[in-house]
Symmetry: C2
Subunit: 383 residues, 2 copies
């Protein structure tokens, strides 16, 4: 039996993790659930899983939850301390870190410091503080397993092969909804247009990141830390069918690829049950009927966010944290129709240029850079 703590259980990854836990009750026991403000959904999950504790954003949300589920079912907590408790709950084996955005960093670190197995969907933890997170995982013995389908693929393609024989990874990208949109139409892209993704069903923030390809940029940074890669060992490959989830190339020219349906439950279940696989009720790929698999280089002229992410990786220090925070702020402004689509990379680029980087070796440094970038982006949005 694997005891789970699911951070961000009402989001898109969290719900799917709950689906897996629910479909394999003999394998998983849910001990903690956390959400921000989706109280009704959380109450339903509490009724289904009867966890030891549930955590929400603040006292007000905690009271709402309490009113729905009562106090007998489980302990209700709130705020950063509550999230950290859920992330480090004694008896929990695996923490699913699926909080969206920068808010996931601190609870992820709590899980890492507690030496848990961390099934990581919150890519911001590694984007903002990859060096710190991996160093603390080494100290505590925490194991970090990727939940992103691309990183899960890389992880599966590294298994059984010699790490020192890796030449590079090929991180595949669907290209998002605007892969074939002429660049001159990019100025008029609306949030509604960007939220309709062809292959994956995701939350709003991630959908916009997919549309700008910043999502892939964040994944590049995440991959660097997860797999201890040099920047030049990471190549991005546009693959519109989303069948090849990523690949690893070895020094003899052999390439190991992981493929599957574009169904996020597969990678989530893999991280939850590793080193075993679960017999998911997901139909296998039918290669007799699959469309031709095509590949092309990413167009960083159309998708400057991807180049900005590589740029932030080169600048290192607190620059990836600034990239991430400025992007979060810009995406929110875009979703609220305060800025146009093309202003997202523009704001991120301005932030990177204006930032005076700190070392990024401690959490305070990183959170300072994050706060600075948000303020900077907000100011730029207002102008």
């Amino acid at each position: 039996m694997i005891n789970l703590s699911i951070l961000g259980s009402t989001g898109s990854i969290g719900k799917n993790a709950c689906w897996v836990a629910n479909n394999f009750p003999e394998k998983f026991s849910v001990k903690a659930l956390t959400a921000s403000t989706s109280i009704k959904a959380l109450a339903d999950q509490i009724a289904a899983f009867k966890p030891e504790m549930a955590v929400v954003r603040d006292r007000e949300q905690a009271q709402k939850l309490s009113a729905l589920v009562g106090n007998k079912t489980c302990r209700i907590d709130y705020g950063p301390d509550g999230y950290a408790k859920a992330a480090s709950l004694p008896g929990v084996d695996t923490v699913i870190s699926a909080t969206v955005g920068a808010a996931g960093l601190v609870p992820t670190l709590a899980a890492v410091d507690a030496g848990k197995t961390v099934a990581l969907a919150n890519k911001e933890a590694l984007v903002m503080a990859g060096g710190l997170v991996m160093e603390r995982a080494r100290l505590s013995g925490a194991r970090i397993l990727p939940i992103d389908s691309e990183h899960s693929a890389i992880f599966q393609c590294l298994a059984g092969h010699n790490r020192d024989e890796l030449s590079r990874i090929w991180l595949t990208a669907s290209g998002g909804p605007f892969l074939n949109t002429p660049v001159e139409d990019f100025a008029s892209i609306t949030p509604e247009m960007a939220l309709a993704h062809p292959n994956w069903d995701m939350g709003a923030k991630i959908s916009i990141d997919s549309a700008t390809m910043m999502n892939k940029g964040l994944e590049v940074i995440e991959a660097k830390w997860l797999f201890d890669l040099k920047n030049e060992q990471i190549a991005v490959l546009v693959h519109p069918q989303s069948i090849v989830h990523s690949m690893v190339e070895y020094l003899d020219g052999s390439v190991i690829a992981q493929m599957g349906r574009p169904d996020m439950r597969c990678a989530i279940a893999y991280a939850m049950s590793f080193p075993k696989r679960l017999a998911l009720p997901v139909p296998p790929l039918d290669f007799y009927r699959t469309a031709p698999l095509t590949f092309m280089p990413p167009d960083t002229g159309k998708f400057p966010c991807l180049a900005l992410a590589f740029d932030a990786l080169e600048r290192a220090q607190t620059c990836p944290a600034v990239l991430n925070a400025a992007n979060e702020a810009a995406v929110e402004a875009f979703l609220n129709k305060k800025i146009a689509f093309l202003q997202i990379p523009h704001i991120v680029s301005l932030a990177l240029d204006a930032h005076r980087p700190g070392s990024g070796r401690n959490l305070a440094d990183i959170l300072d850079a994050d706060a600075w970038a948000r303020k900077f982006a907000a100011k730029t949005v207002t102008k």
Copy 2:
């Protein structure tokens, strides 16, 4: 340093194995070389590698070789006993079994019984006597590593994953030179047409097998034994680009694929240097420029040899040996223009139907079936 014995060193696989050994002199030392009648080529290899022994088909060939290389360079031997000695030479770590056809079975068994690492290109050993070879490998502790690119791919896709979670393998096939030829033109296919293969540079027998897709059928049988599969766990997939060399599907729907250039040196080098990879001077795949990867089911109406191989696998016992021997005889007759292309599957099918199978549990049984099938095929050709 890995000490090698290369059986069939003047054939297409053998020459490439010599190329690898020659390019990595600090890794490999060639202790034995064997050929049938390509004496001049063997003499050149002896000059290059200075092996302890060299073996040829018969006394006459041995004398020819002796005249070319003298008696001081290396011990010269001949015939089945000589081949068996080269296959079990003390001090040899890895035996590359690259003899073409049924003649490879006995020396392969000698290498297996001697507990060597056997880098196996001679698929007939497993097609004819898979149960026997694998059983004797278990007894002696011999390790069998595949050299066929498809089986090398499967081997690489199994590494690091749980064998009991395998659902099936996808064995890819280029489809050969007649993939897109209308079935009504098959009657007029000549040896010259069949010898021109689009992706791989191979010997004549294998080229014809590729044209009939019997090659893939033999690989299906080989895969069954190498990887201990049930017949229904083996699926064949036509993939004309020959980039995906084969795949393994696991019970969660995850598919691990191995890709590479269609260059047989990669799989040969992998088997020779396993568990290390060699930095081959082979350019890596360029996914930014690669053609779309397409997949389709094999057409067993056009390529009945593939269905016959599955049929022989179901019949079991000595039937795969009969399939193989009847096919060898028919292919030879086709190359000698004694029969038409479409008669190859016809003769194999007649042989399978006429055969009274033995258990296939001992070598005598298998060699009897082999001899019977050759005689049967020869009779049918003459008619």
